[in-house]
Subunit: 715 residues, 2 copies
């Protein structure tokens, strides 16, 4: 639907044009049809008018705005220029009058019999900054709008920004300001700034047009000439598609949560294909569920055994005496449809399809058949082709991998089994507190937006980290993410960023390759924190829940090593933060604690040989002064302040501050011999995100927290 | 000195202009003076000539090339335009003739008494692509040249490239091709390509001019109009500086190596301030040297003890019976000058100045005094304000930190003590084989170019990794690096990337140069691999010596996890490599080993459930096919192929290939549970650079190896 501030669009006019094109089997519009659309939605195009005599020409030209172009209008003259019937660059009423007379005289001389309707005057544009405004239909996100500078250079540098349509005025302004060369819009070398509001208005109107009429597949306003008080499209192009791709089935929030709550907090689980034979997936799954500590009912389903792993087994899920919330499938692909039919009749909420051998090996039809069974019985499918899922609050390890029991606030999902295994190993190695690890595999049904909806309202989860290669429905994902982001960070590793990566994604899961910039801009628009690589996904997932949210942009570095201070400063800028310019009174206060040759300012360089008390006093000051919003600590291993002494004192000072109601993000970089590893771990356990041997990582994590806090509207 | 292909520069003409400016106390040149310099060095400027009558005007205009601009030349007419004395855009002989006559007539009408010398005709430029060519004097590197596209947009995007002057034609061509928007130079939207050779020629000539005449501090040719067959500077600007900064003292290669060999392989070491008191630096130093296993003579110097740490102590270094190569100073700053005087008389080659309290605390004079003592006695100083240095081939740990004894090929240096400690801890934690760790601290004397010269020829060192915050003499560093890079990688972490201070600059070029981009471009020109952060410095330093050099650009990914394949592909592009397009016969050969639903192509996706033999066969094929130059492996933890099984088989296959003379770089990303950590370590020990839980790091290391191999001329 169009914006609430709908400025009186003429939908009927657009409807008429599109219906005619549809009737005539056309997928493009003529220039007059394009102009009709532009007029209907107020997209500014050069003004034009027909003058029937020289005086009228002058009046109209003044009304349109000089300079103007004048062209003969005659049904009998096809080649206007040849007939001397075109004049450009008419800048004064005198010139317009003279041009009118010349053009008519030329036309009469060219063809004395020609019928002459008059002279068309058109606003002459070409001054101002050339920009590009467009809309297209993205296979993942649907209607999106694009903005960029025009011209040759920008074409090479591809400096454009995308937004999901419909855009609000605020979206459009952020989009316009989001191009790299945005400074050009403010005027350079003394030139006037363009009117960003006019451009934003144009983007909003175009976005409304393509939203109201989905059959407009593409729209190009290129170039648009932007000046200090106007933005006029010199050329329009529309491409139509009367049979657009359908979005996947939508579930409403209650439907999603109803199913997800039963899947993540099931009272009972059936394992289809549970087995006593070690090495079989059906054996690993029941073993992990039982050994992992799951407290609900566990029903092995196996037609050939009476008991599996100490539990009574049933020939069919239909034989199970009580209700079953979740059925985990550990049978070959070819048996899934039939057993799912039985599970559906039993009323399970979720089918966890571990087996491979579906779309990923070309068996799309088999997968479609299974989905159809599930839809018939209102069963939601996770998978197929997955390792399963973990949910630590229920001590649930429904997977053929190993159990995981370090409960905490991070929910992680992965589209790929390999990445899932990396999540598991890394989490175990770093003792990351996890609420859930979920494989989504082929995403025949449940996908990231369902999981976002669940984790977004799950009190056991306070950050969500997702690996994905594609989105089945980008629009649904954005809607889910927008709803969640104000409460908790959503971190996304989108694989296939580069065209080579996108090609590999294509061969892996049949994912559609698109321009990564579209993903980048639209995920950002949705408030998602994008992880550049796997390590960052894992690290952000681990660290973001540990840090409190900053309440302002004033970042201060306190360091015992000047060398670390320089690198930490680099990292602050690299990660989109800025160093607080410490005011004189605060500078004075820091100086009171540090040697005379130490450097106050920011970084606060306490110098290398200082005792614990210097770290303690300066860090306490940094925490207590309300003008500072986040601290980055640089530690240098010395005999005077050994690593664990530093770690304990920082943990204490931070704990004291938190007890006093001061909860600022604190991160630390530890330089030293191997003892700094244990010191970093101690700090991490006490709410200070700390790493040894790197100045980049702690600042990168803080930067990610800031990106989220800004998107969540906390700053 | 100018290029060997010196194209007959008129140095006398330049000398005369500069001498006049010097005499007149000017630091800038007039337009005619600037043109004189341009003419002397063949910098193309618009042609001009004086016509004394209309026919001569026509002849000259044709000779200069139309279009031309015509201007009255009269000592009595100051305001030429007001006098009707200027006409532009004269495109035909007829127009030139008419213009001549009009201009002279206008001038006579304007001032009947004016003396009229004739009409100046000047080639009118403005067509073509606007580019910027300049030169400036960088405080670190001295004369540098700059190239960039001109115009408003590029000014905003700062798309420029720098090179150290003098540039060769090849340097200049790489510089021109090195801007981001280089594609524009090749013509866009059907436009003609500019003549890169002409632009390169211009850069070479300008670079020769500023090299021959160091007092030309800055030169701006902006804009230069580049066309398909020409490049003409529309405007010239020169800034002079007759008192340029002096470069630090230069040592020749023999002098450097003479001293460095004695410092790194000393027969004897004296410790000034050696102490029996635990906790004192003079105690830690002697303890580390002795306990570290150093086999040479150790002489404690302590006026109050007869014996220190079991060795005979001497009151003064002068009392030591034998020769002393190195004196390590562990006394307060104020005692350094006097004790160094004695060490100098004793004939030491190197003074290792651990004490702080010199320039870093504002005591520049004290540091200068110490340097003067050293220079007088021909002693080289390391430091002051350092942790000391390690050289494992001599089991030498001349430091107050702890000994380090894992010998290997990497030499690491740091300007900061904190970073030095991170080097030590990280090396120990990862068992990195190290030849040396050296603190350079305040760099009163020995700096990175001295160390490069030594490590470059040191058979115990096969990669050099340096942390630096500045270079005392960037030009000497570049010269040293250029000499070393063909044999071994030089990796640099340049701290302070983003905190480039505002620089007083009199020109556009000067302003552009106040930027980290200068370091970036010139280090790259020198063949240095730049590490973006501390972690990469450590990781490249550790891993590059482990990998053999690639002999070609064809990179292939073999992966058991499709999801890793996508991320590895992204990383390949991010790190400046490209995926080999596998030809049909090789594709067929890979397909023979993998399941039908696996994906050949590149990545080769062997799929997740495969046994060790599938990894083995595909990796062996990748190693043995000569068209493939580097392998990236993606491992997915399964029961069928557990982590250590994978690690051992890869190590075996690689070892067999190496035994057969096939030595290709192989890196691996391991996804799985914590067992992948031990598996990665095993691979690393066997020459395969492997990491758990990251797809980025192994590819980043391979990319660094490729950057070096390209710089070394191996590809």
């Amino acid at each position: 639907m169009a914006n609430p501030t709908d400025p009186g669009y003429d939908r009927e006019a657009v409807r008429a044009v599109l219906d005619r094109a549809r009737t005539e089997g056309r997928t493009s519009l003529t220039a007059p049809e394009g102009k009709a659309l532009a007029d209907a939605y107020g997209l500014p195009v050069p003004g034009e008018a027909l003058a029937r005599d020289a005086d009228e020409a002058v009046a109209l030209a003044v009304e349109l705005g000089l300079p103007v172009v004048a062209k003969i209008v005659s049904p009998d003259i096809l080649h206007k220029t040849e007939a001397g019937g075109v004049e450009v660059g008419l800048t004064s009423p005198q010139e317009v009058k003279a041009a009118y007379q010349r053009i008519v005289a030329n036309a009469r001389a060219y063809d004395p019999d020609a019928r002459i309707d008059g002279v068309q005057l058109q606003q002459q544009i070409g001054a101002g900054l050339e920009v590009l405004v467009g809309a297209t239909t993205d296979p993942t996100f649907g209607k999106i709008v694009v903005f960029g500078l025009g011209g040759v250079l920008v074409e090479v540098l591809k400096d454009v920004a995308f937004r999901l349509a419909p855009v609000t005025r605020a979206d459009a302004l952020s989009q316009i300001g989001g191009i790299k060369a945005a400074e050009v819009l403010d005027g350079v070398r003394g030139g006037a700034a363009v009117d960003r509001d006019r451009l934003a208005d144009l983007l909003v109107r175009l976005s409304d047009l393509v939203t109201d009429f989905p059959e407009i597949a593409e729209a190009d306003l290129n170039p648009v000439f932007a000046t200090a008080d106007d933005a006029i499209a010199a050329d329009l192009r529309f491409v139509l598609d009367f049979a657009p791709a359908q979005r996947p089935k939508q579930f409403d929030r209650d439907e999603i949560l109803g199913a997800m709550n039963r899947i993540f907090t099931p009272r009972s689980i059936a394992i289809i294909g549970a087995s006593n034979e070690t090495g079989k997936i059906g054996n690993s799954v029941i073993r992990n569920i039982v050994d992992g500590g799951y407290a609900g009912e566990v029903y092995p389903i196996n037609p050939k055994s009476d008991e599996v792993y100490g539990r009574t087994a049933y020939k069919s899920i239909g034989d199970v005496p009580g209700d079953v919330d979740v059925a985990v499938f550990a049978v070959p692909a070819k048996f899934v449809a039939a057993t799912l039919e039985e599970a559906g009749r039993k009323g399970v909420a979720g089918a966890i399809l571990i087996p491979s051998g579906f779309a990923e090996t070309g068996e799309q039809e088999l997968q479609d058949e299974v989905l159809a069974v599930a839809r018939r019985h209102n069963v939601r499918i996770l998978g197929p082709n997955i390792y399963g899922y973990y949910y630590t609050p229920q001590k649930l390890s429904a997977t053929f991998c190993t159990p995981y029991d370090v409960a905490g606030g991070t929910a992680l999902t992965s589209q790929s089994g390999g990445i899932g295994m990396a999540i598991l190993g890394y989490s175990r190695s770093t003792s990351t507190g996890v609420s859930a690890i979920v494989g989504v595999g082929n995403k025949a049904d449940i996908d990231e937006d369902d999981l976002l909806t669940f984790f977004g309202q799950d009190d056991n989860t306070n950050a969500i980290a997702m690996h994905l290669e594609d989105l089945k429905d980008g629009r649904a994902f954005v809607e889910a993410a927008r709803e969640v982001v104000p409460r908790k960070p959503v971190i996304v590793l989108k694989a296939g960023r580069t065209s080579a990566g996108a090609r590999a994604a294509g061969s892996h899961t049949g994912a559609l390759a698109g321009d990564d910039k579209v993903y980048d801009d639209i995920l950002r628009q949705a408030g998602v924190v994008r992880a550049p690589g796997l390590n960052e996904l894992l690290e952000f997932g681990r660290a973001l829940p540990v840090l409190p949210a900053p309440t302002g942009e004033n970042v201060v570095i306190i360091t015992g090593a000047g060398g670390s201070g320089v690198l930490l400063s680099d990292a602050v800028i690299d990660n989109g933060m800025s160093l607080y310019e410490i005011p004189p009174d605060l500078d004075e206060a820091f100086r009171a604690f540090i040697p005379p040759f130490g450097a106050a300012g920011n970084p606060v360089d306490i110098t290398g040989g200082e005792p614990p008390s210097t770290y303690e006093k300066t860090i306490r000051l940094g925490l207590e002064d309300p003008r500072i919003h986040a601290l980055i600590l640089g530690y240098w291993h010395t005999i005077v302040t050994p690593p664990m002494v530093f770690a304990e004192l920082v943990a204490d000072v931070v704990a004291q501050a938190r007890a006093a109601g001061i909860d600022k993000p604190v991160v630390a970089s530890l330089s030293g011999d191997t003892e700094v590893e244990a010191a970093s771990a101690h700090l991490f356990q006490h709410g200070v995100v700390a790493y040894p041997y790197t100045t980049e990582k702690p600042v990168q994590v803080l930067g990610a927290k800031y990106r989220w806090a800004r998107a969540a509207g906390l700053l």
